[in-house]
């Protein structure tokens, strides 16, 4: 077994073992066993960092930089043979993307474990909480390590159920129970599409393995396959499958219209919100889109053209819309965790924009940086909540003096998410927006250019709103005067277990984009510069590792990545791939250069504008004025009601399902069962009639015979007087009679 595979397996299965031990006998250990999953994840973190360092230390080659993908598979389900073969394997697949995700997951998970030791201290079911965290970590690691779609689906569902268990952790709270159910069911709706997408993919490609799926796209197995939705309307099967498969990420990453569960999921304990509903699980959708990027892009991917796919356009539009929608809602929320939840939805929208406009590398980079600063924000919010026992921002204010560590770390992360230059969020967001603008330029001549420009417009507006509402939290929570003196008095800085993760995460929020990898990859970078002339290796470190080339690195032998395009190795296989001189690549490069400066200026401008406005409104001169008036008032109402989306679902989908269940229940009870009972009733009535006929008809005849005989007997009994002489006289008469008759006859 390859060392990398071995290490990944250990990273994967340690939390599972920890979970199994912890759930059964955890509470008998010291400290209820919280150290067990924590140390399991800790070891995982160290191993992941080792892999990460290995990746960064690898010399760039013409294929890009980083690890050579390795894969190991074990048979799991096997049915049929030949064409009907169904062969599902459990596989571990490790490449750069996997390693990055491993680091994100284990790092955030470890810090959240540590944080929870402080935050959850003394809670009921403390041991179970850690067991669930362990199970979640295992599932999430499984998701990023799987080598095929079906196992991604399996772990996808498993993280869903962990999320369910943890949202509903406060089991006695009705709202938590409802939120957990809502989260799981909303995700299931998305998973339904995901599953159909997988079915279609298996149907065409015959396999769920990523490399096989990519190969099926590359070799034209999807060509000329269309699906007729209605008469006259037909789409290519690849697009259809891609859109359906995107439903999975829509559910998990809370994209419109399936975003409704995420804000409700804040019912769970705050560390859970940080780990699952901000940093890792919700990012799984983005991970999947990144991992399946060649599939979503379609055959164009293999000519280096990521910009003409209808699926990707849909992803960009959905992401953009989600980003702006959630950002606006966040402005009107007063619950600190709800604001952060909508902020997460909005940032996930950003990542989707990135994927949609063709730079999945920056989308994943945003995932990477976002995980740190958003986890830090949530944990900071948890720290505040822990201190004043309230989630409402109107109970806070002025806390910076009482909680300096929380304040400073929170501020750093807020700056990072708002896009303050030189912090990590700025790099990732800027990368996405640049590409979005380049995408708009690229399609500038198209008649529907406006549609292609929408992702950028949505994105830049969402960025402004982000700065606005994030600093709103800062002003309302940490600055100004305490709104609730009593709570303020009792507030105190959290102790080490909670403060340490905040510091680490905020440190990462500063350095994760530029400085740290810059130092780590100093040598690799200089190598990259040398390689740059011959091969397309980007300046930015992350993009070197998470490149399109790396994604399809593991494709079956016979293909290789040359000059930004996938090419068959031998002439014989050229039939499968139509090689064209791709103008798209060159043109996009041109657009990208054009877009660079405007985006840079625009994003710095909108960030400053957002921060300034929010200072103006919440701390500065306007803060005592009632801003919500006039036309804003109506809009504010819409925002407070979350654009009536939840309400709409409740009134339509939920109500309809409920109605359908009532109708079915009624139908079953009243119609189907009635028919059965009626059949029974008819049988009983028929038997009644038959019984009557039998009683009065058949048996009646029998009884009548008896009755007649009886009557005759009763009549004739009178002859019997008991007197001998009567008998003799009678017999004599009879003799005479007989003789008389005899004589008459003779």
């Amino acid at each position: 077994m390859d060392t990398t595979i071995l290490i990944s397996s250990i990273i994967l299965f340690l939390p599972l073992v920890a979970f199994i031990v912890q759930i059964h006998i955890g509470r008998f250990f010291k400290r209820e066993g919280d150290w067990l999953p924590t140390s399991a994840v800790g070891i995982g973190l160290l191993l992941s960092l080792y892999l990460f360092a290995t990746m960064l230390g690898t010399h760039p080659t013409e294929h890009g930089a980083g690890l050579k993908p390795v894969m190991q598979e074990w048979e799991w389900i096997r049915a049929g043979s030949g064409l009907g073969l169904l062969d599902i394997r459990f596989g571990i697949y490790v490449d750069n993307l996997t390693v990055v995700m491993l680091v994100v997951v284990t790092l955030v998970s470890f810090l959240v474990h540590v944080y929870s030791m402080g935050y959850m201290h003394g809670e009921e079911r403390y041991n179970r909480f850690f067991a669930y965290l362990g199970l979640f970590t295992f599932s999430m690691l499984g998701l990023v390590l799987s080598s095929n779609l079906l196992f991604v689906y399996i772990f996808w569902e498993l993280v869903g159920v962990c999320s369910y268990l943890l949202i509903g952790f406060y089991i006695h709270k009705d709202s938590a129970a409802a939120a957990a159910k809502k989260a799981f069911i909303t995700n299931r709706v998305g998973d339904l599409g995901f599953l159909i997408g997988i079915l279609i993919t298996v149907g065409v490609a015959g396999s769920t393995m990523f490399s096989d799926v990519f190969a099926s796209v590359a070799t034209g197995m999807w060509d000329n396959k269309t699906i007729h939705l209605t008469s006259g309307l037909s789409v290519s099967l690849l697009t259809f499958a891609g859109l359906l498969m995107f439903m999975g990420p829509m559910g998990k990453s809370a994209q419109f219209p399936l975003h409704v569960w995420l804000p409700d999921a804040m019912e769970g304990p705050t560390p859970v919100s940080a780990l699952i509903h901000a940093a890792t699980m919700v990012a799984a959708g983005v991970y999947l889109v990144g991992r399946m990027f060649p599939f979503f892009t379609g055959p164009g991917f293999f000519q280096g053209n990521f910009f003409d796919s209808p699926v990707l356009l849909s992803i960009a539009l959905i992401g953009g819309f989600t980003a702006i929608m959630a950002a606006t809602i966040a402005v009107a929320q007063t619950d600190i965790k709800k604001v952060l939840a909508y902020s997460t939805v909005s940032q996930l929208g950003f990542m989707m924009i990135g994927c949609g406009v063709g730079t999945f590398a920056f989308a994943l980079f945003h995932l990477f940086t976002h995980a740190f600063f958003k986890a830090c924000l949530f944990l900071g919010a948890g720290s505040v909540i822990h201190a004043i026992h309230s989630q409402e921002m109107c109970d806070m204010g002025g806390l910076r003096k009482k909680m300096p560590v929380t304040y400073w770390t929170f501020l750093i992360s807020t700056c990072a998410i708002a896009g303050v230059p030189f912090l990590s969020g700025f790099y990732s967001k800027e990368g996405i927006l640049t590409q979005a603008l380049a995408y708009a330029f690229y399609h500038g001549h198209s008649p529907q250019w406006f549609v292609y420009a929408l992702p950028f417009i949505f994105g830049i507006c969402a960025a402004a709103f982000t700065a606005f509402y994030m600093f709103r939290i800062i002003w309302l929570t940490f600055h100004g005067h305490p709104r609730d003196e009593h709570k303020y008095e009792h507030a105190h800085e959290s102790h080490f277990a909670m403060a340490m993760p905040l510091v680490v995460l905020s440190f990462l929020a500063i350095v994760s984009a530029g400085i740290l990898p810059g130092i780590l990859t100093g040598k690799a970078k200089s190598d990259a510069h040398e390689a740059k002339a011959a091969h397309a290796v980007s300046e930015f470190w992350f993009v070197n590792y998470i490149s399109p080339a790396a994604l399809v690195e593991s494709m079956p032998a016979g293909y290789e990545w040359v000059g930004g395009k996938l090419q068959p190795r031998t002439a014989k296989e050229q039939n499968f791939l139509k090689i064209q001189e791709s103008k798209a690549v060159a043109e996009m490069h041109h657009c990208h250069t054009q877009a660079h400066l405007p985006t840079l200026l625009a994003s710095i401008f909108v960030a400053s504008l957002g921060i300034f406005l929010s200072w103006l409104c919440f701390l500065g001169p306007w803060h005592s004025k009632n801003l919500v008036r006039g036309p804003l008032k109506a809009y504010h109402k819409v925002l407070v009601n979350l654009y009536y989306i939840d309400w709409f679902y409740l009134k339509t989908v939920v109500a309809l399902t409920y109605l359908a269940s009532k109708i079915c229940g009624w139908f079953d009870h009243t119609v189907v069962d009635f028919l059965v009972n009626m059949w029974g009733w008819i049988t009983v009535r028929t038997s009644d009639v038959a019984g009557k006929v039998d009683y009065y008809g058949v048996d009646g005849t029998v009884r009548m015979t008896g009755a007649v005989t009886l009557k005759l007997g009763q009549k004739s009994v009178k002859i019997q007087t008991g007197r001998v002489q009567d008998y003799i006289a009678l017999s004599l008469m009879l003799v005479v009679l007989v003789l008389f008759v005899f004589m008459l006859l003779v």
Binding site: Q720, T721, G722, R723, V724, Q725, I728, A729, L732
Partner: protein
């Protein structure tokens, strides 16, 4: 007027006498209430039958079987009388009377 039938005694005469006796016997049996009288009526019946046998034997083909039967009948009559009288005594002891119309035990 021919009175030959008076002197020329034949079978018919015997039979006539027998019928008369038989009828008298029947009449006694039906009419009398006393059991002993009824027994006497039965004796008459037997005798009527006996007379018939003798008569037929005499005027028949000469076989003497009729006479034999007559002797049998006489014996039987004697036996019967003995038995019947015994029954009557029993009845008398039980009911203290021998009027047959008052004894209707057989009805039960």
């Amino acid at each position: 007027m021919n009175f030959n039938w008076l002197t020329d005694i034949g079978l018919t005469h015997y039979l006539t006498v027998s019928v008369v006796i038989f009828s008298l016997g029947i009449a006694v049996i039906l009419a009398k209430r006393n059991a002993i009288a009824i027994l006497m009526g039965i004796e008459l019946l037997l005798n009527a039958a006996c007379l018939n046998f003798v008569a037929f034997s005499h005027f028949g083909n000469g076989a003497q079987s009729g006479q034999v039967v007559a002797v049998f009948i006489i014996v039987i009559a004697a036996a019967e009388a003995a038995v019947a009288l015994a029954i009557i005594v029993c009845v008398y002891r039980m009911f203290n009377l021998i009027a047959v119309d008052q004894i209707a035990k057989m009805k039960e």
